[in-house]
Symmetry: C2
Amino acid sequence: MFTLYDYLPSGNGYKVRLVLRQLELPFRYIEIDILRGESRSSGFLSRNPNGKIPTLEYAPGAFLSESNAIMYYLAIDSHLMPSDRLHQAQVMQWLFFEQYSHEPYIAVSRFLLTHGELDDEKRAVLMQKKPGGEAALRVMNQHLEDRQYFVAEQYTIADIGLYAYTHVAAEGGFDLAHWPAIQAWLERVARQPLHCRITDQF
Amino acid sequence: MFTLYDYLPSGNGYKVRLVLRQLELPFRYIEIDILRGESRSSGFLSRNPNGKIPTLEYAPGAFLSESNAIMYYLAIDSHLMPSDRLHQAQVMQWLFFEQYSHEPYIAVSRFLLTHGELDDEKRAVLMQKKPGGEAALRVMNQHLEDRQYFVAEQYTIADIGLYAYTHVAAEGGFDLAHWPAIQAWLERVARQPLHCRITDQF
C-alpha cells in the first residue's frame, strides 16, 4: 500500500490525494506539519532530500516527490491521462505551467494570507505576486473559453493540477469573478465522480 | 519539419535544441529576441499565450510550450527516456525539481548578471536567490555522489534538463568547485554523442 507524507492545507498534496481517491488506490496518510519544521527534520530529509511534501512512499523505503510527477506515476495508464503522446505532452505543458507560472504566485499568496500575521513585508510580497497570478488566470481563462477541460476534452491530471490552487485562489486575494470560463470549469471538476475537498480527512 | 521559436542564450531553449540534435530531428530555428519584447508581441502570443520561449511548432499552426514538456514529447519513445513508468516518473520528478527549485534561483541569477547594469535592486534580488540556488545544488550533488546520471543510470532528459542551467551556474554567481559530484556529471553529459553547446548556432 502507498504511504503519503503530506500536509492537509497543501494544494500540492491535494492533487495527489484527489488522484489516489479517484483511482481508488488505498493509501496510508502521514501528516507532516511544515509549520513546525517537520519537512526539514533529518527523518523526513532521508525520504525527500529536497524537504518538500507531498512525498509518496510507493514501495517500502522507496520515495517519489514533486506533486505533478507523483500524479504522472499514479495516473499514466488510467482514465486520468490521455493515451497518445501529443496529448500526454500537452498535459505536461499545463503541469509545468502550473508549477512555474501559477503556483509561485497564487499558492504563495494564499500561504501568506492564511498563515500568521500580515505585516508590511508580507504586503509587499503580495503586491509583487499579484500581476503574475492574474497573468496565469488570464491564460487559463482564455484557454477554457472554448473548452470543457484543459487537454483533449477529457478530465485529466492537468485539470487536477490546476484545480488544486485555482479553486482556493480567493484565499490568496484573487477574485475569480473576473474569469467566468475558469468558474464554469471549476464546477465541472468538482462534479467529477469521487471528488473530495482539500480539507477532507483521511 | 519542426519549427523552434527560441532565444539562443536561454537554457530552457538549449534543452530542446540538445534533444532535437541528439535525436537527429531536423528543425527550423526562429530567434525571438526576448530583450526587445518579441515574446510579448501579438504574433508570438498567438503561438504561446503565456509569452515564453521555447515554443515548438510541431505541425503547421500547432504549438507546444514549456521546455520540459517539449522534451517529453520529443523523447518519450527514444533512448533519452526510460521505458518503464517508475523511471519515467523519476525523470519527471527531476524536471519539476528543475523548474521549481533550481531555475527560479540559478537561471534568474544568471539572467540578472548577464543582462544590463548591476544596480542595488538587482544585488538585493541576487542575495535573495543565493540560498535557494545553493540548496538545489546540494540536493543534486548528494544524489550524484553514487550515481552516473540522475535516473536509472542512463543519460535521459532529466540530465539534459538539469544540465542546461547548471553548466552555466558560474554565470549566475554559483561556484561549482564546492560540488565535485556535479562537476564530474557535467563532464559525462558533455561527452555524450552529438552534444552541442548552448551558444551553437543553427
